[in-house]
Symmetry: C2
Subunit: 337 residues, 2 copies
Amino acid sequence: MSVMVNAPLGPENALDLLVSLVSDDLRQVNETIIRRMHSPVVLIPKLASHIIAAGGKRLRPVLTLASARLCGYAGEGRHVMLATCIEFIHTATLLHDDVVDESALRRGKPSANVLWGNKASVLVGDFLFSRAFELMVEDGHLPVLAILSRASSVIAEGEVLQLLTANDTDTTEETYLEVIRSKTAALFAAASRLGPMVAGRPPEEEAAMEAYGLNLGMAFQLVDDVLDYSARQEKLGKTIGDDFREGKITLPVILGVAAADATERTFWRRTLEDLDQNEDDLPRALDLLQKHDCLEETLRRAHAYGDTARTALQSFPDSPWRRALLDVVTFCIERAY
Amino acid sequence: MSVMVNAPLGPENALDLLVSLVSDDLRQVNETIIRRMHSPVVLIPKLASHIIAAGGKRLRPVLTLASARLCGYAGEGRHVMLATCIEFIHTATLLHDDVVDESALRRGKPSANVLWGNKASVLVGDFLFSRAFELMVEDGHLPVLAILSRASSVIAEGEVLQLLTANDTDTTEETYLEVIRSKTAALFAAASRLGPMVAGRPPEEEAAMEAYGLNLGMAFQLVDDVLDYSARQEKLGKTIGDDFREGKITLPVILGVAAADATERTFWRRTLEDLDQNEDDLPRALDLLQKHDCLEETLRRAHAYGDTARTALQSFPDSPWRRALLDVVTFCIERAY
């Protein structure tokens, strides 16, 4: 596998570089987020800003901004508007996912549903989702609405499919990949495709940017799933083993189950299917994943998706945006280490 | 207040009459619902059909179909498509509302979240909501998208506002009316307005049908709130006192609190704010509402909204649809008795 890194830049700061390239646009996105999540019902901006302002990397809206500039978009407004939509949809998904997963921490702060309850999280998510569609309607381009409404229902399908695979150690790698393609990669793909769309570029460029986003999203989620079993995770202010405790089936576990002997299989069934866990079980799970090389193997898949993402950018001429988008792929994978 | 009833028809079957007038269209809506809630993730149509097929009256999509015909729409497809959107948005709201209210029964059958859990209800709601937007995009008219995306965020605002008023016996009538205008009447208004929109009628007709739907929706919700404290409710297969047990603040209670002496006020605080309730409390609440004429007074407001809804139809020439839409107002109010 090839890893492209620009000479003076370690991959650690590739996202910061990309962000700096679109910093004026991103500032407008942040302003638009604040302005457009306003509601006379004050709990809405209060709860929404808790999660939106919680220090997320804004990776998805940055993809929209950068892909627009990469494709020569010279306007001021549409990419900002649509990047805001992307962040609203993402935030709505997080809010509903918090309810769903009963996860106690998100980005190191107490999750919204712990602070305000499940009810408010669901409803504020609904508000942000609706508001995203209002913004798209203001943008007024039906092809954009088609992409984002389709992405939204695919995300929901992916979340439901993930729910069905929870606690099922018979889940295949194929099903798992379908889950993450829908629940995560679809929004990366849509976010990236919006760039050539607002720039009025031909279908091939839309397809190339969509492929970039889709494969970046796959790599990103695989790394996320590895991080949940990785010491690296604690440095990010997140707890380790959330997926394990919930019995969530991710690729490391699928590979672990596939390589398991009879005793190990019983262990996975007890802990992930029956959710019958004691304090020794997470360390044991980590040992088993280590023993069968599952985290490394998952990262190898992430690298392969990353390579495909980078290849998708080949048809674009060299530019600071192209270089930064290439490096962001590396950054998204290297954060696992 | 005036109550218009066509001679051979008791108000009991006014909705059935309206439904029969649009029966071909409604059959197409039902087929479109089945076809468009399809997903390779089989839990989605399974859960969605549970709630969609649960014998709901399809009142909201029928409003779209009837208002389109009232306004002279002669086409076959758009009103069916948009009526389906309305039902999908309504169903998504019900699914999220079930999570929110932990209500054990909906339309006499176990609610979706009891059968499949909160997670699935939230996510299938998200799917239906996204699918509604996909259908609107296929319809391809931005003004329609503007109306429905706006209605969706207003509904979410109303639901959050309702959440904030829960267990707060200081809630004013004004706030309560704002809640039901947003969470219920806004969708009735949008559903009704779609008729003149697809028929290409002038703005005055859109405004008239929107006023019809809005005021019908207000009356409908007020009657719903009365029914929760009414013996009539049990005939509809619903439990009585759900709102009371949840500490939901509705107009009957607001009027009861306003008329309460000190002892009664203590009672409302204990039961609705502290949710400290025993088995004698619901009967006592019913007595107090009776004593202060709160249910009758709420129904008087419903009648007033009903009158306004009927007045909004005055500018339309006489037709079977106009007559049926007028009678449906009466039906929605009379179901309280």
